[in-house]
Amino acid sequence: MPSTDAKVVPKREGFSSRKVFILAAIGSAVGLGNIWRFPYVAYEGGGGAFLIPYLIALLLAGIPLLYLDYSIGHRFRGSAPLSLRRLGRGAEWLGWWQVLICIVIAVYYAAILAWAGKYTLLSFTKGWGADPNAYFFSDYLKAAETPGPTFDFVPEITLTMVLFWVIAIGVLAMGVQAGIGRTAVIFIPALVVAFIALVVISLTLDGAAAGLNAFFTPDWAALKDTGVWISAIGQIFFSLSVGFGIMITYASYVGRKTDMTGSGSVVAFSNSGFELLAGIGVFAALGFMAQSSGQDISEVVASGIGLAFIAFPAIINEAPAGALLGVLFFGSLVLAGVTSLISILEVVIGAVRDKVGISRRTATFVVGVPMAVASILMFSTTGGIYLLDTLDAFVNSFGILAVATVMMLVVSGVLAKLPELERHMDMVSSIKLRGWWRWLIGVILPIILVVMLVREMGTKIATPYEDYPAELINVFGWGMAAALPIIAIALSLIPWRRGTVLSGDPDEVLAAEEAQDALLVDGGDKA
């Protein structure tokens, strides 16, 4: 039975409207990967021909996976661990695994945001000088010569990281609607406007047409390569923020009558629409860089940190209105990154709130401050870049894939809950799932994700990652990836706060939610 004790049952918050939820979900999905990963993956995957596996992956993998997260969060009305606990007794640990992955990602994501923030300011004066590569690694990061953790702090990075953590904690302390929702309502339109301006400027640069030509010219032979199809699924998978608790958490903050599949399709196509925009902007700029340096596009194309902090500063150095281009590019990274960081942190805060029953502000500080301290201690050092790279490769690329695969197998195979989730989605949604979704989530996608997982593991075992020292890979790579599910099982053994409804009966879940709404223990609006 739901508790009626006002002191231990905090009111469940929510987004004030469907529009705010959609913007927050877009804010989570649109992140750094849209800007710095998609253009490279598409180019390497056959240029214009990549559109075919990409669209198929969007429709048959990305959107169904998004619906799975939505269905769990929306039906069971809780953070990832609570929703999965209500789904089935043995599934709670999967939610904690997702929470732990979010903790790891958040601590290094804040460092990248700090770099992007600093580079936004540097853009005004092109402060990285004539050699952006040397500036980034030697002058700015002061990267240690030997990869591994160090305790040599770089004060400039420390200060910027503190600033971003204060912003993130401040936003989250304000609550779901007043903090997360309002930030998304302001940041997402600002991001779209800034990026459209960047694309327009990039398209006016000499060589832009050559860049677009390289980006869109189809290499049909690439479609015969299974690696290209897997890379399309991987791009969609990592870009949509599915499989690690964010969409479960956000879906639990939405009104019970919200059209979830209709909203999800808007989120998914917005995410892909932004990726296409990023591809156009980035390749137009790379076309300019290739022309001004007398190189071929294939020689200047880059992704990730190399694209953002080395190639783009070089473009900005040469381009007319380079300072404006830089502010728009790095400002876009900051806007996209902040909303994503907030969504990652909310997974942790929501889980802690549900588990121990504390107020939002207390949970935000209890979770946010230790994470900020750990983040700054680890990533504002001269060894931070190596830790970041290792954690990103093993916990992000490998860990999310692993938890999503196991979650699908547990939900469909062990608990056999897909029919229930499908009925729920069909009841609340405009786009009906009617069997096709169950077939994809229960059969096809687990097989594909297992293949991707085995492939990813094989690559990482066969080739020592980046030739980093074994101890770095073993502790922060494999060690961390293996430790998270074990810690998650331990966390799932901790009892829930008194009065928590753990039943998966929707009537009991709703009765508990309505009882909480009536209590008005702490702040936050209900959708």
């Binding site: 559109l51 677009l212 869109f216 209709g262 399709s265 196509f269 629409g273 009841m427 949604s429 405009s430």
Partner: protein, 47 residues
């Protein structure tokens, strides 16, 4: 730009941005109807 690249660019824009417009239109026209379905289902259950 080559003709093939231009065609692929247009196809990409039409499918992805067109898909977004279609998704928004669907949500605006049919999204509210699904809420009414739930209300009706809940009323029937309560009765």
């Amino acid at each position: 730009m080559t003709t093939t690249a231009i065609i692929m660019m247009i196809v990409a824009m039409l499918t992805i941005w067109g898909g977004l417009i279609a998704a928004i239109l669907n949500l605006n026209t049919r999204g509210n109807a699904s809420a009414e379905d739930i209300a009706r289902a809940e009323l029937q259950r309560d009765l």
